[in-house]
Symmetry: C2
Subunit: 329 residues, 2 copies
């Protein structure tokens, strides 16, 4: 039997040859990497330039993926496919023409909001969620046209439900967990999860400790059982992994994620004054070498081999085939 | 017999449905269009956004070409392939990483200079030409790597000869004529033309009146005889058309071409205080519908059908196959 595809639909590591080698050790076929949190267009292009240098220096370890077939090619040639995405629409600034430009440059996921109100929709940390804006509707249509997937991981509930309704193509929540399991602001209600599944969307399970019941102490068993229970709610083909792994990052990076340039004050986000930095990862998931542990943990819940293979990567691969690029005629 | 390919390796029209329809009437298979004179990176991206709207609105008339095969596809589907190019390296600013970025966005030609000194080399209007700069050498290597063709149409002689020497791939002079025929500052010496041919490069014959002997009054016969004589000098496979057609442009555009933002004074370029605007085109070449006239004029000089087909487009097509994108292994 060939091993299942392994796809992680969100990481933001401090990228290095070490991390790329760990991806190979963990047999990770594809990773959706965040290339913008609060960056404007030009700053995002600088981040792509830095990735181009990674691709040039490590052609034996990684390649830039624009399609599902690029992931198949990565697997055939023993490399990890890298997919670009944004956690905020800041890279398109106020210019809808930049949607196609960033897609041409390789972007395949864009969150309509990070934690705050954006030009397009509302983030999950705002008190009020007035839903998708006028520009938001226009940008959703343009994202649908070019095949840039809408990601609502950090968005508020009404905006998320409206985005699913407005979008003519399935959307993704690349990295979040069920709110019923752990009531973090970032985790999603059953209403959202059911609507996501019914519209053909995908949920990526996060391993970021603030999204886990018990945080760093969360057990592999509890994590995998929650996935299996969510498979009952959403269907096992609507679920994957989006680890939110932020490996080797200094705490200054989580400060940047939380406050960007939008405030001069401190914002602890999901942390607190006592624990302002990155929380330690669970001991069973430290880095890319630990995907086999999750795969085994899923098997132990009684999920079938087909279901495990879907959750570990094949569901994302199918979603990418349909979602990346203009809709097939 | 199928008609020869028709490729124009430089135009800067005031793009409109009218112009695109004239391209189809003239059976023009491909046009290299200038998308930047003095624009910085962000401004160039805005110009690409405007082209994306043209492609979206007129999919029956034009398509965006990145390879020679896209031109074959355009011909098979009755459309004109549009190739992006820059007349100045201003779109890459001072950032070598932008070479690959603009290539990804579709750029396939970049002049190392317009008329002035650039960060890379020297333009033909400077008093001194110290040759290719340090950044120029680095950028030539990067252009060679990604397959962005070096164009020296507006460059000074030493810089042009040095660029050919430094580049590991053939370069182009997309729009200029022999200096022996008409001694304009923009036309090229036999030394340059011979070195260009020997290094596998291409010359595109310009129809911009300031580059023609007799200007607007230049005859079709004289133009075509000069092409035939240059075929003797360079070889008939090293020559094509690069009309420099600036159709439907107001005179404010030629002012922008000449002065950009680099001076507050007036610069008449190849014009004069008496004739500051665009000169009228010769009556035998007003727009894209007149390529058949040139084709007939070339036949009348005694050039063979194969030679005429090469000059009208097949030489450029072969050059694009070799020059666009990373070098084949």
């Amino acid at each position: 039997m060939t091993r299942p595809y392994r796809i992680d639909c969100l990481q933001y590591a401090n990228w290095s040859e070490k991390v790329f080698r760990q991806m190979r050790e963990g047999a990770v076929d594809a990773v959706h990497v965040t290339i913008a949190y609060h960056e404007n267009f030009r700053e995002t292009v600088l981040n792509i330039e830095a990735w181009n240098r990674h691709f040039e220096r490590h052609p034996d370890l990684i390649l830039h993926a624009r399609t599902g077939d690029d992931i198949r090619r990565a697997r055939e040639t023993g490399r990890t496919a890298i997919i670009f995405g944004f956690q905020n629409p800041s890279p398109i600034e106020d210019d809808i023409g930049l949607v196609e430009i960033v897609h041409t440059l390789g972007a395949r996921f864009m969150q309509l909001t990070y934690n705050n109100q954006s030009l397009l929709a509302t983030g999950c940390y705002e008190d009020e969620d007035p839903g998708v804006t006028r520009m938001g509707r226009a940008v959703i249509a343009e994202m649908n046209r070019v095949g840039l997937v809408i990601d609502m991981s950090h968005s508020a509930e009404r905006s998320t439900l409206e985005a699913m309704e407005i979008s003519t193509r399935p959307i993704a929540i690349t990295h979040a967990n069920p709110h019923t399991w752990h009531p973090a602001l970032r985790n999603k209600s059953d209403t959202v999860l059911k609507a996501l599944a019914e519209s053909g969307g995908m949920l990526g399970f996060s391993l970021y400790p603030h999204h886990l019941k018990g945080g760093t102490a969360c057990t592999l068993e509890d994590f995998c059982t929650t996935i299996a229970r969510t498979a009952d709610l959403m269907g096992p083909e609507r679920i994957g992994i989006g680890s939110d792994l932020c490996q080797d990052q200094p705490d200054s990076i989580v400060e940047w994620m939380r406050t960007g340039r939008w405030t001069k004050a401190v914002d602890y986000g999901e942390g607190s004054a006592d624990a302002p930095g990155f929380p330690p990862m669970p001991d069973w998931f430290a880095d890319n070498r630990d995907f086999g542990t999750i795969e085994d943990g899923l098997r132990a819940t009684g999920l079938s081999e087909t279901e495990v293979a879907g959750i570990m990567g094949e569901n994302w691969l199918r979603f990418y085939d349909d979602g990346f690029g203009p809709k097939a005629e």
